[in-house]
């Protein structure tokens, strides 16, 4: 454990732990758009910039809290004039991509960002945080990735066509902070990323809950039981099982 001084208060960090992980654990607020604890830091949105001065250093420097590993005692400032200016500018710039989105609205208000004219992006409201790419890769699929570069960068399936790899699990949509990924459901059909999937109904409550492709894929990668249950019914069954276990 190392002694880390955050905003004047002593904290303890594990060696190699990121600044953001330490601060989240200690309840010190740092705003993020591109961070998800399942994937670790990406250093993409740069909203989490903080100042750090490590032992032996004369000047503090600006680093991304989500990717900076703590390896020695240090002093950290999570809010300064410079940091607030960065957050204000980033909120202002990202809000152009998602100008009616509640999250961006909140961030702009919080940091006093002025609004610039909105720009058209595809998919609408996408702030290119990259979480969907990680979610899809983590599922073992990588059906979506970022295409092009620079100001033309966007998230898509290869050639914008229905991807063989996409199983319609919608993990991408679930992690999206701005709800930019469209999941259309009608009856027992789900449409996502230009591809249509048949939904399987929960054997208990009858609600369509997952795509056939997803359940087949999961079946190949582990034994999740014979019964096809939606999340709510699975929780209920689990709770019931726990009761019998206790008794």
């Amino acid at each position: 454990m190392m002694k880390i001084n955050v905003n004047g208060q002593q904290r303890e960090a594990h060696a190699g732990e990121s600044i953001l992980d330490l601060c989240r654990r200690e309840g010190i607020p740092i705003p993020t758009f591109c961070y998800h604890q399942a994937f670790g830091g990406q250093g993409a949105c740069r909203m989490c910039m903080v100042e750090i001065k490590e032992e032996g250093q004369t000047r503090s420097r600006m680093v991304a809290a989500c990717t900076y590993p703590l390896t020695q005692p240090a002093e950290i400032t999570t809010e300064s004039e410079q940091i607030l200016r960065i957050r204000r500018t980033i909120a202002m710039l990202l809000a152009r991509r998602a100008d009616k989105n509640a999250l961006l609205e909140t961030m702009c208000q919080k940091y006093g960002a002025s609004r610039l004219p909105a720009i058209v992006v595809e998919p609408a409201n996408c702030i290119l945080c990259g979480l969907c790419i990680h979610a899809c890769a983590e599922m073992g699929k990588s059906a979506i990735w970022s295409m092009f570069r620079g100001v033309d960068k966007r998230i898509a399936t290869p050639y914008d066509e229905a991807s063989d790899d996409c199983m319609g699990c919608a993990a991408c949509a679930q992690v999206c902070p701005t709800q930019a990924i469209k999941v259309e459901e009608e009856g027992a059909v789900r449409r996502i990323w230009n591809k249509t999937f048949a939904l399987v109904a929960c054997t208990r409550c009858g609600k369509p809950y997952a795509t056939r492709d997803e359940l087949d894929y999961l079946g190949q990668h582990g034994d999740f039981g014979q019964e096809k249950l939606c999340e709510a019914c699975r929780r209920k069954t689990l709770a019931a099982n726990m009761q019998t276990f206790q008794a």
Binding site: G43, I90, L128, R149
Partner: protein, 610 residues
């Protein structure tokens, strides 16, 4: 080309064997250098009276691209400029056979009006000090023996047979070599970190992904002297204990790839690469990787991702590649020019290298001098040389004797330095202080017909397509900067825009993920710092003082000055200028598209801006 040289070597004759060096660098090749080379090879066959056939060699870039194709005759030390295949017979009959120079092909000094027999006598070369470029133009890059004859692989021999690994690092440290790719990080320190780092195997990488518009120093080295890069990397591998190296070459550099590939094969055959090099404990081999065509892959973490087969996007470098680099293993990445310096330092010692340059920047730097300058080309000068010396003494001043306005250094994310700083001795630190950077060494000279707002807009537009788009400040910041600069150039800007430019720029500098984003606002901030008046003129007076921004440039002809020469009429693409020869001309405002071509062409400055 090699066959020709070998024939003569097997045929030792009487008298001096002469060598004809034909520059076949990319610039000279574009101007017909290859044809000149072929013409020499063929014509010499038809001269039975020549007892000892001269050796004809195609060399790498001599740097003096403005005067190419260059032909040099050794040992007479005669340099011919702008040689065409039609000139070859005359050169053979006069110079090779009779020893008389062909006067019309010699360089004529513009000041003294004298014809100079050798390029060594010209201002362009006299002020240069060649270390990294020492062999280029002197050897056939396809012949390993040419390199060896000029002392090649001796440094490797010296190190492997007589120096400890740490000694090699200490020598580089003592020499004060700093990375030539842009950052200027001390090379010895980098090697030391990699040597000390835990983890195996270790890797050596040569960054040859030169992408700055107008920069061609690394290309020239890879095309003109590929073995120096290989030897430098071998020395690095020995120092840090690496067994494998990669040369990452920009995909567009076909000739470089061709020569490097051959050089690697030749070095393997001669035992300079492979197992137990020169019977030492060092086993090291190099693989060539062609880049994917993205500017950002010159950034080292993006380069690593690209070699690994991932998308060429950078990641935070809080843990240096010397600890966690290629496939998570300790890796040294140095730029082509840095590697080219290494054998020289090792062979001649740290002291002689450290004696050149400034206090904190040692040795020389190669610059590609381009833009509105008389002598464009590649120049290598000691660190600490002033911009004035490079532009006026070596470069011969501004084209058409126009007035100097600025020099853009350091590639697209460098900055523009004004005339007031022409006497700045350039090194890594002085350029950074001036709001620009060394970068890889691009120098683009601009005259008074250059609009600085448009220059900033141009560079930002380049970066808009080349940013990887991963982090917000760079991607969205560049987008916003480009919109604002375009607005100003079109006459739609406001004073508040200047604050917005600064605000976004500062965030980009402080918060961007990699150096590309952190330096991307340099063209904007440096022009705002030195040429703010021009921005204000665009915004407040709706006028582009350089006559470049079409929406803000209205031209008319001053009847007092116009002598009716007709040059403007010939250059006007829409026939908007009327007037009899030797009579005052007039621009028809209803037709004029404000391109400014007449304004730039008029030799009498008779065309005026509103």
């Amino acid at each position: 080309m090699g066959g020709r040289a070998m024939q003569t070597e097997m045929n030792p004759g009487k008298g001096d064997r002469q060598t004809v060096l034909v520059c076949c660098g990319t610039g000279c090749t574009a101007n017909g250098g290859r044809e000149v080379f072929k013409a020499f090879s063929q014509s010499l066959q038809h001269h039975p009276e020549i007892e000892v056939l001269p050796v004809v060699k195609a060399t790498g870039c001599n740097g003096w691209c403005e005067k190419g194709p260059l032909v040099r005759l050794i040992p007479k030390d005669i340099t011919y400029c702008s040689v065409a295949p039609a000139d070859v017979d005359e050169i053979i009959s006069k110079t090779l056979l009779q020893g008389v120079p062909v006067k019309r092909l010699l360089y004529r000094d513009p000041v003294s009006k004298e014809h100079l027999t050798s390029h060594h006598l010209t201002d362009f070369y006299r002020k240069q000090h060649k270390i990294a470029l020492r062999n280029i133009g002197e050897i056939d890059p396809g012949q390993i023996d040419d390199y060896i004859q000029r002392g090649g692989y001796q440094a490797l021999q010296k190190a492997l047979l007589g120096m400890e690994r740490q000694e090699v690092i200490d020598t580089i440290k003592a020499a004060g070599l700093r990375g030539r790719g842009g950052g200027g990080f001390p090379t010895g320190q980098k090697w030391q970190a990699c040597r000390n780092a835990a983890g195996n195997p270790k890797y050596i990488i040569c960054n040859g992904d030169e992408g700055d518009p107008g920069a061609f120093m690394d290309r020239s080295i890879m095309e003109g002297d590929p073995h120096t890069v290989i030897e430098g990397m071998c020395l690095g591998a020995y120092a840090v204990g690496a067994a494998r190296g990669y040369i990452y070459v920009r995909d567009e550099y076909d000739l470089a790839v061709q020569y490097l590939r051959q050089a690697i094969d030749d070095a393997r055959q001669r035992g300079y690469l492979g197992k137990n090099i020169l019977n030492s404990e060092l086993s090291f081999d190099i693989e060539l990787v062609r880049g994917g065509g993205a500017f950002v892959c010159g950034e080292e973490t993006a380069l690593l991702a690209s070699i690994e087969g991932r998308v060429g996007e950078p990641h935070d470098k809080y843990v240096f590649p010397t600890e966690k680099g290629l496939w998570g293993k300790p890796t040294v990445i140095n730029n082509v020019e840095t590697w080219a310096n290494v054998p020289v330092i090792m062979l001649h010692g740290a002291e002689s290298f450290a004696a050149i340059g400034t206090d904190k920047s040692k040795g020389t730097k190669v610059f590609s001098l381009v833009g509105k300058v008389v002598n464009t080309g590649l120049v290598e000068v000691p660190m600490g040389t002033t911009l004035r010396e490079i532009i006026y003494e070596i470069g011969g001043g501004v084209l058409k004797k126009r007035s100097f306005k600025a020099v853009q250094t350091g590639g697209p994310s460098g900055g523009c330095i004004p005339a007031a700083l022409l006497d700045l001795p350039i090194d890594f630190d002085s350029l950074t202080e001036a709001g620009s950077m060394m970068g890889s060494g691009g120098l683009i000279v601009m005259d008074d017909h250059t609009c600085m707002v448009e220059v900033a807009r141009y560079y930002v537009s380049f970066l808009a397509g080349e940013s990887c788009g991963k982090c917000t400040p760079c991607r969205e910041g560049i987008r916003a900067l480009l919109e604002i600069l375009t607005r100003i150039c079109e006459g739609q800007g406001s004073i508040e825009d200047l604050d917005l430019l600064e605000d976004i720029s500062v965030t980009m500098q402080q918060a961007s993920l990699c150096a590309l984003g952190r330096t991307a606002p340099n063209p904007v901030l440096s022009t705002l710092r030195y040429f703010r008046d021009e921005y204000l003129e665009h915004i407040q007076q709706q006028r582009c003082p350089a006559g470049v921004c079409r929406a803000l440039s209205v031209f008319h002809i001053d009847p007092e000055i116009c002598n009716g020469c007709g040059v403007c009429v010939r250059h006007c693409s829409v026939n908007a200028i009327r007037g009899e020869k030797k009579q005052v001309h007039v621009i028809d405002e209803s037709i004029c598209i404000h391109c400014g071509e007449c304004y730039r062409q008029c030799a009498f400055d008779a065309i005026k801006l509103r």
